[in-house]
Symmetry: C2
Subunit: 249 residues, 2 copies
């Protein structure tokens, strides 16, 4: 059984402020937790119900395993319906953007994405299409927000997500900077070559002025109907797909 | 100022049971409300703050216009942050599937989609790519759920969404039934021709057994990374894009 102070400690991690203070974030669900265990992330504690215990037999001894009741899990979950396992994972230090090699590969750049579900879906889709890096403006929603973590379905454990001063990073980029905009060249007629950064803007306001100035190639996803815009995660997905389309089998 | 009973009436429409009972649903935001006004839907009441009134100058006299305070809007909104306009719209009768011509066009079929955000994004994307029909199994989330309406960004006013007994509708289909599955022909090698139905399954369980039996062409979106699956709205979007790719300009 969890003590009141344990419950209140874990619940504090639902909030960004306390995730930062304690250097921990929450991952839920056996699939996601297993993927974090087998990643470069450090899982410190696992809280799970009795029925999940057999699946955790060969766990590293460095991970503290707590068998708890369903009702205790319901007290600490970030989800509407609790999964039967919740893990605390060490928050990585935000890597220096200098450590990331943006050459000879494709990266996504997110300029002020606000919706956690959108960010999570973008991370999951980037993982599916083998896009290894996501660079985010400082005002993009935090990748360790529980709703983001949940929407990535484990993909957060494999994708590099780095927060940075986006305009200056793009300014010093040696690869083409493609911007998803409404007035560009159709994506179907764009030659992406072998490297580049794809910039996607905020859900309502689009790409900010400071970032627009760094875009070298404006690209549009043409439409046929009367909708005014696409959801940003859909837009990101269509770019990822188009970048990889010729090598997909 | 709204009376207690008006507030409680509008708030009851947040729930499916009362939407059905009263035959009304809620649309919020000036863009979406305007699109519903100019659609085949019947807008019955508009509740808005003073600053929005000038935008509604040429409104049909059949629509009852209520100028209300910000705090009253906050009491009736379905959103976390209220927009400055909320409309009540007549719930259409679920059209008979027989009235829908599925030949010589493309339609999406949704088999048990549960997440309102996913359904809304699929409707919005279908509108963008000019896919006119979405047929849903009875256990798919209701299209007039406020979270769905919000995520469609007005596109719900233009797209036919019909609920039906999906297996029997697919069984009597005269066009190819493509299923989004993990073990099919790569989408990049699939010849869709000029007509068909694209079936997308539930977020966790995929396409149900009864529907699987009606699929004539299994299609897969190949991946390059380690993610196990794609979000269903992303998957739907990639199909819509691929169907239209050759005519997009």
């Amino acid at each position: 059984m969890l003590s009141k102070s344990q419950i209140s400690f874990i619940k504090s991690l639902h909030q960004k402020k306390y995730r930062k203070e304690h250097g921990l974030f929450i991952v839920e669900g056996i699939k996601s937790v297993t993927e974090f265990i087998h990643s470069d992330y450090l899982v410190t504690d696992i809280y799970c119900t009795e029925n999940v215990m057999p699946k955790l037999a060969n766990l590293s001894q460095k991970i503290k395993l707590h068998q708890i009741s369903v009702s205790d899990l319901e007290r600490i979950t970030t989800l509407t319906t609790a999964q039967n396992i919740l893990a605390l994972v060490r928050l990585p230090a935000n890597k220096d953007i200098e450590t990331l090699d943006l050459n000879e590969t494709f990266s996504l750049a997110l300029d002020g994405i606000q919706d956690p579900g959108n960010l999570g879906t973008i991370i999951r889709t980037a993982d599916w299409f083998g896009i290894p890096n996501i660079i985010c403006s400082h005002d993009t929603v935090e990748a360790y927000n529980p709703k983001v973590v949940q929407a990535t379905m484990g993909s957060l454990s494999r994708i590099q997500v780095i927060y940075c001063d986006l305009p200056s990073v793009l300014e010093s980029s040696r690869v083409p900077v493609f911007g998803a905009l409404l007035d560009g060249t159709p994506i179907t007629e764009t030659a992406f070559g072998g490297e580049g950064i794809i910039v996607l803007g905020n859900e309502g306001k689009g790409i900010s002025e400071a970032v627009i100035g760094q875009i070298t190639n404006r690209v549009t996803i043409p439409g046929l109907g009367k909708a005014e815009s696409l959801n940003v995660a859909v837009c990101a997905s269509l770019f990822c797909y188009e970048l990889r389309r010729n090598i997909l089998k």
